[in-house]
């Protein structure tokens, strides 16, 4: 029982981190039809910037400054890069963001070096929040949950309850009409791209000291975020939320599940022996292949329902 509770909490924290990252990506996609491959790279930059800023100003100023800097970077990418490539079609935009991944990774390696950065949890948050079943739940994880929930609420409020949100929603589905009514639709696009990058940067600030801050972090987060966005459905924030929590739970719970396919068949009296591929396949415990499961799920959803769970837009 205790392991279920522990895994539930840990899965929730990881899922919310994934959501922070994936929500920016899905917003950008639903807005501009561009799947921004460089989104995880912005996450990495957010973590590195937070580390550098926190060395001079402390963690909490970095929490505000680093995402804003990422937003500025996003705006620059959109205005000077994406906008020019836009006329060449979706493939060109995709390739552009793909190329950005490599450039950003090299720039990070050149600026901060190849070794992991000692980006630590701030001392004021480094204590056990509560104890359950003899284990501590670190306060920093509670903080992560708080920030991600707050960010979710703020984004939802912005999109649904403000005038700016209204214009954004209109530009989403009817860009020509919104433009004809006098709204600066290109500026809205830049705003949304920058906003998505702010979200990614914030995820980086929070996640950089939860995980390790090193030049490979974009490569480790990128695929999972992609899976979440595809699984949840392109263009749907709710779907993205459901998918993030689901993936977080799956990856966390998978580790604690030690059963294999053969164990499920044991009640039927089936046993296997021999050192061949089939036995290997049937006896591998779920815990060993936990990292594989999100990708299997993505393949499954693409076969069964390509739109994703709650997608509003085809790929």
């Amino acid at each position: 029982m205790e392991i279920v509770l522990v895994s539930l909490l840990n899965g929730l924290v990881y899922g919310m981190l994934l959501f922070m990252l994936a929500s920016g990506l899905t917003l950008i996609f639903s807005m501009m039809g561009v799947l921004n491959f460089a989104h995880a790279s912005i996450y990495m930059i957010g973590a590195y910037l937070a580390f550098t800023v926190s060395q001079f100003l402390g963690f909490f100023p970095a929490l505000i400054i680093a995402p804003l800097l990422c937003g500025l970077l996003g705006a620059a990418i959109e205005v000077f890069g994406l906008r020019r490539v836009h006329s060449n079609g979706h493939i060109a935009e995709l390739l552009f963001t793909f190329g950005l991944v490599f450039i950003i990774e090299r720039v990070v390696q050149m600026t901060w070096g190849m070794l992991p950065m000692p980006y630590r949890v701030p001392a004021v948050l480094d204590f056990p929040l509560f104890t359950f079943y003899g284990q501590y739940f670190p306060a920093y994880r509670g903080f992560m949950l708080l920030v991600s929930a707050g960010m979710l609420l703020a984004t939802w409020l912005l999109l649904k309850k403000t005038r700016v949100g209204l214009i954004i929603q209109a530009s989403l589905t009817h860009p020509q009409m919104a433009s004809a009514l006098g709204h600066n639709v290109p500026a809205v696009f830049t705003l949304v791209f920058a906003g998505g990058c702010v979200l990614a940067g914030l995820a980086g600030v929070i996640g950089g000291n939860y995980q390790t801050t090193e030049p490979g972090m974009a490569d480790s987060m990128g695929p999972i975020v992609f899976v979440v966005v595809v699984f949840g459905g392109l263009g749907s924030l709710m779907g993205c939320f459901v998918a993030s929590i689901l993936m977080g739970m799956i990856m966390t719970f998978a580790v604690v599940i030690n059963v294999s396919l053969l164990d499920l068949l044991k009640p039927l009296g089936i046993t296997l022996s021999g050192d061949n591929l089939f036995t290997e396949f049937m006896t591998v415990p779920v815990a060993r292949i936990g990292a594989l499961l999100p990708f299997l799920l993505m393949i499954f959803i693409l076969m069964v329902r390509p739109r994703g769970l709650m997608g509003t837009r085809d790929t």
Partner: protein, 418 residues
């Protein structure tokens, strides 16, 4: 457009000029002995590769100051393999193109296995341009057993040797252990040999958990910590290293998990820092060397060596004694063979007897090209002369496994060339 064309032409001319300048090799009075070194210098395990590179630069500079070999100096040529066998093979091709006769490699038995195979095939097909693989840290037992090869020399204790020392060094009152290892050749080797030696030496110990986790990919260890807690284990016996170990320990600390960590490699960079004060008398490791061993064995030269390392701008502890042994034995073999030809050096290296920096006997066994050497079990505690990574705690040597203790049988059936 004319201006652009002119720019393009002048750029091309500049490129040709520059390449002409750099294509001529500088002629030295005496050619250096090139030794290639490949390890991850980028990626999640970069901190380990980076540290080893600095170790080698220090050791080789010292060896060159003492004369090198055959009156020639050693030259270290590093290659980044990113801990990927494919990248290591690309690097190997580059080394062969540069006629480098020796390649050292210290991280990742998956890469080690690929290198043994590639070097063996290359040397069989190209007898005039051979290369010798000097293994300083790919530890899976299979590499000097099932996969043993004439062109491969391992200058580090195999998993089998370390596991024997590890199980011997477990406290007598320990009854429940949790095995956690990385899911690749090395981790599986540790898992296999740990269970073998537990059955042989400590049948009273119950294995309450036996887990393989993804290699170098796990960011969040809290599910593993939860499992360890639920199993009721008193100790985690793990071959994890670098990031996979440091994050595990950090996570266990955060969760307040009260178990021992009887590790294989926690003395490597980052381990002591990760556990900090929480590790007192709870963390043990099996190591080639630490400064306190030099104090115990009363070998001031070794103590001075480690201190010189510290004072020459490196803020880390020196533990890679087998690297010193490797360079020393390589130099001796080159001198004995009178050349750097890999065939002659290999014949001089096998069955070589030498003394390491601590004055202990070490033997490069001819049967499997495995170096037989001692290992020291250290416990993380106060009251030692040298602390680890400025934590205030250091490694206290509480058990020694001698070269004789660790002379274990091998199933190697080496195919000798010609």
């Amino acid at each position: 457009m004319r201006g652009l064309r002119l720019l393009g032409y002048s750029f091309a001319v500049l490129l040709v000029f520059l390449s002409a300048l750099s294509s001529g090799r500088p002629v030295l009075a005496e050619e250096t002995i090139k030794v290639a070194y490949t390890d991850p210098f980028s990626g999640p395990f970069a901190s380990g590769g980076d540290e080893f590179l600095k170790n080698f630069q220090f050791i080789i500079a010292r060896k060159n100051a003492m004369g090198g070999a055959l009156g020639r100096k050693f030259e270290l040529v590093p290659f980044d393999d990113k801990l990927q066998p494919a990248e290591a093979l690309i690097a190997l091709k580059s080394m062969i193109d540069q006629n480098i006769p020796f390649v050292m490699h210290c991280t990742g038995s998956n890469v080690g296995s690929a290198l043994i195979d590639a070097v063996s095939k290359h040397n069989a097909r190209n007898p005039d341009n051979r290369i010798l693989y000097l293994n300083c840290g790919a530890l899976a037992t299979e590499l000097t057993n099932e996969q043993c090869d004439f062109w491969h020399f391992r200058f580090a204790g195999s998993v089998d040797m370390r596991a024997a020392a590890r199980i011997k060094a477990l406290p007598q009152d320990l009854k429940k252990v949790y095995l956690l290892n990385q899911d690749y050749l090395f981790g599986q080797s540790i898992q296999h040999d740990t269970k073998k030696w537990l059955a042989k030496l400590r049948p009273d110990i119950e294995i309450v958990g036996d887990e393989l986790m993804p290699f170098g990919k796990v960011q969040d260890f809290s599910p593993y910590v939860a499992k360890i807690k639920a199993s009721g284990a008193q100790s985690v016996v793990t071959g994890n290293y670098n990031r996979d170990l440091n994050l595990l320990i950090k996570s266990a600390n955060e969760a307040g998990l009260d178990v021992r960590f009887d590790t294989f490699l926690s003395h490597l960079i980052g381990g002591p820092t990760a556990i900090g004060a929480a590790g007192e008398n709870r963390l043990t490791s099996i190591m080639e060397f630490n400064s306190n061993v030099a104090v115990d064995l009363k070998v001031p030269e070794a103590e001075k060596f480690a201190n010189d390392w510290r004072t020459s701008g490196h803020d880390t502890d020196f533990s890679a004694l087998n690297f010193v042994t490797m360079i020393d034995m390589l130099a001796d073999a080159i001198n004995k063979a009178g050349s750097t030809d890999p065939m002659k050096v290999a014949l001089a290296l096998e069955d070589a007897h030498s003394k390491d920096l601590l004055g202990q006997d070490v033997i490069m066994r001819k049967d499997d090209h495995q170096l037989l050497m001692p290992y020291y079990a250290g416990v993380f505690s106060k009251g030692v002369k040298y602390d680890a990574e400025h934590t205030g705690f250091g490694w206290k040597n509480y058990m020694t496994a001698t070269t004789a203790d660790l002379t274990l049988p091998t199933i190697c059936k080496m195919k000798r060339p010609e």
